[in-house]
């Protein structure tokens, strides 16, 4: 019985040299981005915790950090940076685009002012 046809069969044998090298590099990228994201998160907390930074700057700033965080999450942890994710990229970004326009329009339409 040919097992190569069963997509859910467990893998057998050990990986090739090239794969191993790739995996190692992948692991390093994951750790680096993890540390960086923890850094961003603590920056956000600090921005709000200190009294030095005015909230007029603080709020847009942490929103910006949040945006960076989301993109990094998608690209590094959820592998949208990898090859063969063209459709995923296209659809996520067009979805975000449509959602952004929709939300912006809604806020205008539901606002107190009528245009």
């Amino acid at each position: 019985m040919s097992t190569h046809l069963d997509p859910s069969a467990p893998l057998q044998g050990s990986a090739s040299k090239a794969t191993e090298r790739k995996l190692k590099q992948e692991a390093r990228t994951q750790v680096v981005s993890y540390v960086f994201m923890i850094f961003i998160t603590s920056t956000a907390f600090l921005t709000i915790a200190t009294d030095i930074i005015p909230s007029s700057f603080g709020i847009p700033f942490i929103l910006l950090l949040a945006g960076v965080q989301v993109v990094m999450q998608l690209y590094f942890f959820m592998h949208m940076k990898d090859k063969g994710t063209g459709w995923v990229n296209a659809m996520i970004w067009s979805g975000m685009f449509v959602a952004a326009i929709t939300v912006a329009t809604l806020m205008l339409l539901l606002g107190i002012n009528k245009y």
Binding site: M1, S2, L5, D6, P7, S8, A9, W87, M91, S94, G95, V98, A99, I101, T102, T105, L106, L108, L109, L110, K114, Y115
Partner: protein, 610 residues
């Protein structure tokens, strides 16, 4: 556990547990036809009530319930499942795949839809169906007494989850499962339109889910999202509903466009004119579909600037739609046209749908809309696009693909009687409604007064509705009496696309060897450039198949039980229902199941070799 052979099963158990896209497609069709008949019956009841002025056939409350259930049933439980049936059956065949990407989820999607639909209809027997129309505007819906609207909220929530799952499944299937050589720009248009439709489902249904959730919180848990006295806002519901609702109409019409593209090309014996323009137009329509929702809300008071923007955006959709119409006409131009029933529906679609498009542009003129809004003019408009577009598409698709799906050809003579009766009945019913609307007859009223000049046209409209009813009965008879036509079913129309390269009925693995696609209209290319058979892209080998599962029924059943708990605020039952659902999901997660293999010897036997 990996079995070498499939376990023998009883027929019923086989259908209940199947994960085969073809059987699921057939179940969608059967359920869809059932709900179509139900919705049609409700339509006839309404038309009898409106046959004469101040008639008392249905009570006013009953009329509202019948009206609501008619719209809801036709959109969510008839048109969409029938289209899903075709998509399920045909798309994997058209792209040369053995199944969809997630067969288990596919069956879950079907059962969620079915349980949701049945849940909605249980309301008839428990003290009244929903009565706030299919749009369920608040505060009408949030204040509606009884449990009718609760059934609406939860029934749609359950079946909507199924639709979302189905849509995601098609997206992954079309992106990942295409046969070698089947590039995106070689996909048949039905597959393309399924792809764009699935994107619309993915992006539009969440808005409905949120709207229904808010309505449920307001009605069942004392929320105040739509309670003006408590600082809520009623207009938010309309926005959420139409952010979903307008893409929804494109979810319905795009697959029909895809079908017509295939049918017209096949029966004109010509390659589809302007293939890439057709693909591009489909994408543009899909995108613009999200930019126009507020054209349903011109009279709400958004202000002239917002109205103008949405009016222009709406009219812009007429451009890609027009491109499509002209491409169909140019495909027909100079073709050797065959007037089969499938093609008759396609040909009748072009003028009928265009009429609906014209009234659509009229409605999009925001200043004029104040006159048309909420009159029978609107009823006429959306029935011209929905019946003249979607329903004609479904009927055309039935006559076209029936031999592939069910292994027999539908009788052409009976089919033509059905076609003409339905076509005339349809125009008789809805053409006069334009004028009823212009004369001021409001929509969603259970009666009208004598002496306002509305009597004759309402009577004509009802007569047309009866004709459509009779036509539908003839269709059902056709489906039954045609069963002897089992000859010439593999490729009866001299087809162009891959599904016609399979034998009818299609074996469960679809293709003994994955085909190699060399051109757009893959089969046609082989017929004229090759030896008439698809080239194989792989050696003949054992085929891996997924095992069936009963779990989708339990997952859906659990949600249905939980819905009853929510409707009657008995949260013990809600918890039990959710336990069933999550328990079934848990079983699915921990149980290892690697499917089984069909051995080469059996595949050879299927091909008539030994």
């Amino acid at each position: 556990m990996s079995n070498a052979k499939a376990q023998p099963k009883s027929v019923l158990w086989d259908w209940l547990t199947t994960v085969d896209h073809k059987k699921i497609g057939i179940m969608y069709m059967v359920a869809g036809l059932f709900f179509f008949a139900l919705g049609g019956l409700e339509a006839i009841l309404m038309r009898i009530q409106l046959m004469f002025p101040e008639f008392s056939f249905l009570g006013y409350q009953t009329y509202n319930e019948v009206l609501t259930m008619h719209g809801t049933t036709m959109i969510f439980l008839a048109a969409m499942p029938l289209l899903f049936g075709f998509m399920n059956f045909i798309v994997p065949l058209q792209i040369g795949a053995r199944d969809v990407a997630f067969p288990f989820l596919n069956s879950l999607g079907f059962w969620l839809f079915l349980f949701g639909g049945l849940l909605l209809n249980v309301s008839w027997f428990t003290g009244g169906a929903p009565d706030a129309a299919w749009t369920a505007y608040v505060p009408l819906s949030s204040d509606s007494p009884g449990h009718g609207v609760d059934y609406y909220v939860l029934g749609l929530q359950v079946s909507g989850a199924g639709t979302l799952i189905g849509g995601i499944n098609f997206l992954v299937t079309i992106i990942n499962m295409r046969a070698p050589g089947m590039s995106m720009m070689r996909m048949p248009l039905f597959t393309w339109s399924t792809f764009v439709t699935s994107m619309l489902i993915l992006f539009a249904f969440p808005a409905l889910t949120i709207g229904l959730l808010l309505l449920m919180l307001d009605r069942i848990f004392g929320g105040a999202f739509f309670d003006v006295a408590a600082g809520g806002n009623v207009v938010i519901w309309q926005h959420l509903f139409w952010i979903f609702g307008h893409p929804e109409v494109y979810i319905l019409i795009l697959p029909a466009f895809g079908m017509f593209s295939e049918i017209i090309a096949t029966f004109a014996k010509k390659r589809l004119f302007g293939y890439s323009a057709m693909v591009f137009a489909t994408l543009i329509i899909g995108f613009l579909g999200f930019m126009v929702w507020a054209h349903h809300m011109f009279t709400v008071g958004m202000g002239p600037v917002a109205n103008a923007i949405f009016a222009v955006a709406t009219m812009a959709i007429a451009v890609p739609t027009g491109i499509k119409i002209f491409n169909w006409l140019l495909t027909l131009w100079g073709g050797r046209i065959k007037f089969t029933v499938a093609n008759l529906f396609a040909l009748a679609f072009i003028p009928s749908f265009t009429m609906g498009g014209v009234t659509g542009v009229m409605l999009a003129t925001s200043a004029a809309n104040y006159q048309f809004h909420d009159t029978y003019f609107v009823v006429a408009h959306f029935h011209y696009v929905i019946i003249g577009g979607v329903v004609f598409g479904i009927f055309a698709g039935m006559f076209y693909w029936w031999p592939k799906m069910f292994g027999y050809r539908l009788d052409e003579t009976l089919g033509k009687i059905f076609f003409w009766l339905f076509l005339i009945g349809f125009h008789l019913t809805f053409f006069v409604q334009h004028f009823l609307g212009l004369m001021g007859m409001p929509r969603r009223v259970a009666s009208f007064l004598d002496g306002q000049g509305l009597n004759e046209m309402n009577l004509i409209s009802t007569i047309g509705a009866f004709m459509m009813g009779v036509a539908f009965i003839i269709l059902v008879i056709t489906l039954i009496v045609s069963r002897k036509n089992t000859d010439n079913v593999d490729d009866p129309w001299d087809g162009r696309t891959l599904e016609w390269a399979t034998p009818s009925p299609v074996p469960e693995y679809n293709f003994a060897q994955t085909p190699l696609v060399r051109e757009l209209d893959a089969l046609w290319h082989e017929k004229y450039e090759g030896d008439g058979k698809m080239k194989a892209a792989e050696p003949l080998d054992d085929i891996h198949m997924p095992n069936g599962s009963i779990l989708p029924i339990f997952i859906s059943l659990g949600l249905t039980v939980a819905s009853f708990g929510l409707i009657y605020s008995t949260h013990v039952i809600t918890v039990i229902g959710l336990l069933i659902t999550f328990g079934a999901m848990f079983v699915r997660s921990i149980k290892e199941d690697h499917g089984y293999h069909i051995p080469v010897s059996e595949i050879k036997r299927g091909k008539g070799e030994r």
